[in-house]
């Protein structure tokens, strides 16, 4: 291979990539902030989108970076939601302490279930991940006196954040609370995926055999990544409980896990930004299509997924590169 060819194929230098992405991050923060002013009547929906982005970012860490196949990620979201909700109802309604409880619950459940799940792989792992979420959902259902069972956990009434910013009917405080946490989670994850820990996660995704051959304890590293992802999913769950002041059994449901996976596939895995775009597109289309036809909106989502999987398997983030490729082929 010639030097010129090597230059053409070379990946973008990290410094240049950093500058481009920082600019993109600032644009995204700007757009995110603007939604507060653009959709003042729909802040509840926008806040739900932001919470789902945190959840799908956590899923991206697990699937996109570490290659852990799961259809039970709601187990970690629901654990965070129930822990934060129960804490608010029975112990303290302070949002930040509740958020910390949600983080711990998500991480602990991820660690404990990860010890079992991550010994398996492929379809077995997929089935076990569903089983864990179903078991937790059934526990929440059976413990009706504590969790409200199928009626959901009610009676969550959060205190003001820092004792100053009270949660209001229109969801203004909730929006900014979730938005700030999302920005913090996003930059934390950017740090993680660029770190040696993140590089090792990508290595395990690409070749567990090679990682073992360079001395990596692959199983324990996967447990570590899964626990971190559990903490982040716990954040999403806790925020959901605090902002909506309700935790239902659906927080641990299969539908939530499957929808999060579809959001990630739509946007593109292993790039963090894919989680953001995929979630925004899925939830916006869902919102729009369901308002037109509440019974058949899934047709639109199904069609969208089919188009993406067939024509842009890298997700919608891969669309510009795919378009360039098609244009070049058409010349």
């Amino acid at each position: 291979m010639s030097t010129d060819a090597a230059k053409t194929l070379a990946v973008t230098p990290p410094r240049k990539r950093f500058r481009t992405r920082l600019l993109l991050d600032l644009v995204l923060i700007g757009i995110g902030s603007a939604t507060f002013f653009l959709f003042p009547e729909n802040l509840g929906f926008v806040t739900r989108v932001l919470i789902m982005i945190i959840f799908v970012l956590s899923l991206d860490l697990v699937i996109g970076y570490a290659g852990i196949a799961t259809l039970g990620h709601a187990a970690l979201f629901g654990s965070g939601a129930y822990a934060a909700g129960l804490f608010a109802v029975y112990i303290s309604a302070d949002p930040l302490i509740g958020l910390a409880i949600g983080i711990i619950a998500g991480a602990v459940i991820a660690f404990l279930s990860g010890l079992i799940l991550l010994r398996a792989g492929g379809l077995t792992l997929l089935m076990l991940s569903i089983a864990i979420a179903q078991i937790l959902q059934e526990i929440a259902n059976k413990e009706r006196p504590l969790t409200g069972g199928s009626d959901g956990l009610l009676g969550i009434d959060m205190d003001p954040i820092f004792g100053i910013f009270a949660f209001d009917f229109f969801g203004r405080t909730g929006f900014w609370y979730v938005f700030v946490i999302l920005v913090m989670v996003f930059f934390l994850l950017k740090l993680v995926v660029a770190s040696p820990f993140g590089l090792a996660a990508r290595g395990i995704h690409e070749s567990p055999a090679r990682m073992r051959a360079i001395g990596t304890p692959v199983y324990w590293r996967l447990v570590g990544i899964y626990t971190l992802a559990g903490a982040i999913a716990g954040i999403a769950g806790a925020l959901s409980a605090q902002v909506t002041e309700l935790v239902s059994l659906e927080a641990l449901g299969f539908t939530l896990s499957a929808e999060a996976l579809i959001m990630l596939i739509l946007g593109g895995t292993g790039r963090l930004y894919g989680a953001i775009f995929g979630t925004v597109i899925f939830m916006s289309v869902h919102h729009w299509a369901a308002s037109i036809d509440p019974f058949n909106w899934l047709f639109v989502i199904g069609g969208l997924v089919l188009v993406v999987v067939y024509f842009v398997p890298e997700g919608l983030l891969g669309l510009p590169a795919k378009l360039r490729q098609w244009l070049r082929a058409g010349r």
Partner: protein, 250 residues
């Protein structure tokens, strides 16, 4: 206490088939030893027993006198036993630089760090540059491995393994899949390996074996048939009949 690797009476079956039959082998620092044998002789299985990918039923493996048989694969790597794969096993979507960075970070126990950039350790980056230079990979450093020719990927595989700073290096068919015209690149890379490193080369390419190995071990049906210098092996009638052919007799 003896230095280097000492393998004694290694035994392994796959069902009714004996794949390692009472194998004994020594590797001292600086050794260049080749393991040859027909297909199915058990060469790769033996390499996998050394690295801990497979566990033997009996026997012992000692490194500098210490028993490493009970150690898992990842711990044996940390103890100093590393291997390249027969079929290139790399991180193909990553750049060459990242492929070499990963084992160095792992060796230096920095891979649990999740708050610094993986490229922010100057001593690691210096070592990557040295390995890139040693294997003539500087031009391709920022290319994804999947975009490299197979021969270059074999070099990355060796650079990546050497980045672990092993004391025992097992090269499993380093020239497999490399065009004959490029085999000299692999031979030169092996000749440039550190002098104090013990190297076991599993190889079918006899030109490579006779060029780089000081001792040759012949493995047949999971058992060592013979060990000797290249001249002794080339002159042995049994080996010639089994494997080499008459062309290497003189």
């Amino acid at each position: 206490m003896s230095s280097g690797l000492e393998v004694k009476n290694l035994q392994k079956h796959f069902g009714g088939i004996v794949v390692a039959n009472n194998i004994c082998l020594d590797l001292k620092p600086g050794d260049r030893k080749a393991l040859i044998g027909p297909n199915g002789a058990g060469k790769t299985t033996f390499a996998n027993l050394l690295t801990g990918t497979l566990m033997p039923e009996s026997g012992s493996i000692r490194l500098d006198g210490a028993d490493i048989l009970s150690l898992k694969e990842s711990k044996r790597v940390r103890a100093g036993v590393a291997k390249t794969f027969q079929i290139t096993t790399l991180f193909k979507a990553m750049s060459v630089r990242e492929n070499i960075r990963l084992p160095i970070l792992e060796r230096e126990r920095k891979s649990l760090n999740w708050l610094s950039s993986s490229a922010s350790f100057p001593e690691v980056e210096n070592e990557i540059e040295q390995l890139l230079t040693q294997f003539n990979l500087e031009t391709f450093a920022d290319l994804r491995v999947q975009d490299l020719a197979y021969g270059q990927q074999r070099l990355v595989e060796m650079a990546l393994t050497l980045a672990l700073k092993p004391r025992i290096l097992i090269l499993d068919e380093p020239s497999a899949g490399v065009p004959t015209s490029d085999a000299h690149i692999i031979i030169e890379a092996i000749e440039r390996l550190p002098q104090d490193l013990a190297v076991l080369i599993i190889e079918h390419d006899m030109k490579l074996v006779f060029r780089v190995a000081a001792r040759i071990v012949v493995l047949v049906n999971g058992a060592i048939l013979l060990e000797g210098s290249p001249e002794e092996i080339a002159g042995n009638q049994q080996v010639r009949d089994l494997y080499l052919g008459a062309s290497h007799a003189h």
